[in-house]
């Protein structure tokens, strides 16, 4: 049995799907955030595999930028979750309905 690098892409697709389903079914804001992180990581795996398939390093550069953006996003997002938790005493996304029409 031989596997080709495309299997990495299939694994990335599976991880991305699991992350997306997690965003849809979980309601704790922090766990939702972890699911978004998983989706970003799956995209990174796909980028690194594409870089290998194409034989250039550009895919790895983009994955590096994705990492940086993910770090910034996590910092701001967790600060927002913390400030919501301080005012509402809850980290569930169902309780944050103040802007609901």
């Amino acid at each position: 049995m031989t596997l080709t690098p495309e299997w990495y892409l299939l694994l990335a697709a599976a991880l991305f799907t699991i992350g997306a389903v997690g965003v849809l079914i979980r309601r704790n804001a922090i766990v939702l955030f972890m699911c978004v992180e998983l989706m970003l990581n799956a995209a990174n795996l796909a980028l690194v595999t594409f870089s290998r398939i194409n034989g250039t390093l550009d895919g790895q550069i983009i994955a590096f930028f994705v990492m940086v953006v993910a770090a910034a996003e996590v910092v701001v997002g967790l600060a927002i979750i913390m400030s919501i938790f301080r005012t509402r005493r809850s980290a569930s996304v169902d309780d944050s309905n103040l802007l609901k029409y």
């Binding site: 299939l10 704790n28 993910a70």
Partner: protein, 257 residues
């Protein structure tokens, strides 16, 4: 060719296959466990497992810099930040089991399965005839993976790199603004005000009585006795749930025989 370059040739070598299969299964288990775990801390630890597996995949796919950065940045910094916030948010972090929208969970899982099927079929058909070139040439052009990445980062992608630094600074300032609690001088009660509030009518100025400790019980949940024999409710901390022993718990255990 370096061993990493050999690994990156198409198709996967036997060694890479033996890395890919167990770690791929572990990564999937971690992802599923993260979505399924009821406790948010367990979710975070499952996600750490998945990210470690992905870091190994980057290294195997001749991207050692990205692999190490993944382990340091993601599992080392980001996930520990998650754990810190979970500890701050506390026990509330576990999810409730009630569904707000009926059938939402089933619909989401069906959608996910459909999406995965579409993506996998599309990928399989699109990539059927392609051959992976491997990164051996690109990595050796500048003397290594890190050098190759650096030469790209500081020539073709230098503007994106500069913008990234602006993004990082903005994020740091934003997080400081969001996490900062503004306290003006007038908001904190002064010592005379605290004193007056303490001796105001209706407030009990003395310290609370300690819980009763008797020969039969040394629990802090045991209320102290007032001089008239009644229980002092103030002697028990408010966070302790009221607890009555059931008859099976008060029955002799048979240890005295």
């Amino acid at each position: 060719m370096t061993p990493a370059a050999v690994l990156a040739a198409t198709p996967m070598s036997t060694g890479e296959m033996w890395v890919f299969i167990p770690l791929g299964i572990l990564a999937l288990v971690g992802a599923l466990g993260m979505v399924a775990a009821r406790n948010a801390v367990h979710s975070a630890l499952f996600l750490v497992l998945t990210m470690l597996c992905l870091g190994v995949f980057y290294i195997v796919q001749s991207g050692p810099f990205l692999g190490v950065a993944q382990i340091i940045v993601y599992t080392g910094a980001i996930m520990m930040l998650f754990l810190f916030v979970l500890m701050l948010v506390g026990r509330d972090a576990s999810d409730s089991l009630i569904e707000t929208l009926r059938g939402q969970r089933v619909a989401a899982i069906l959608l996910g399965v459909g999406f995965a099927g579409l993506v996998c079929v599309g990928l399989g058909r699109a990539l059927a005839g392609t051959t992976a070139k491997g990164l051996a040439e690109a990595n050796s052009a500048h003397g290594g993976n890190v050098q190759g990445l650096a030469s790209l980062l500081f020539t073709r992608y230098v503007f994106a790199f500069e913008v990234t630094s602006a993004l990082l600074i903005t994020a740091a300032v934003g997080a400081m603004l969001l996490a900062h609690i503004e306290r003006r001088k007038g908001e904190r009660p002064t010592q005379p005000e605290q004193m007056r509030a303490r001796f105001a009518p209706g407030n009990y100025p003395a310290p609370k009585a300690g819980p009763g400790v008797y020969a039969t019980s040394d629990s802090v949940a045991t209320a102290g006795l007032l001089p008239d024999g009644t229980l002092a409710a103030r002697s028990i901390p408010e966070i302790l749930p009221p607890r009555e022993l059931t008859s099976s718990e008060t029955a002799p255990k048979g240890t005295d025989r």
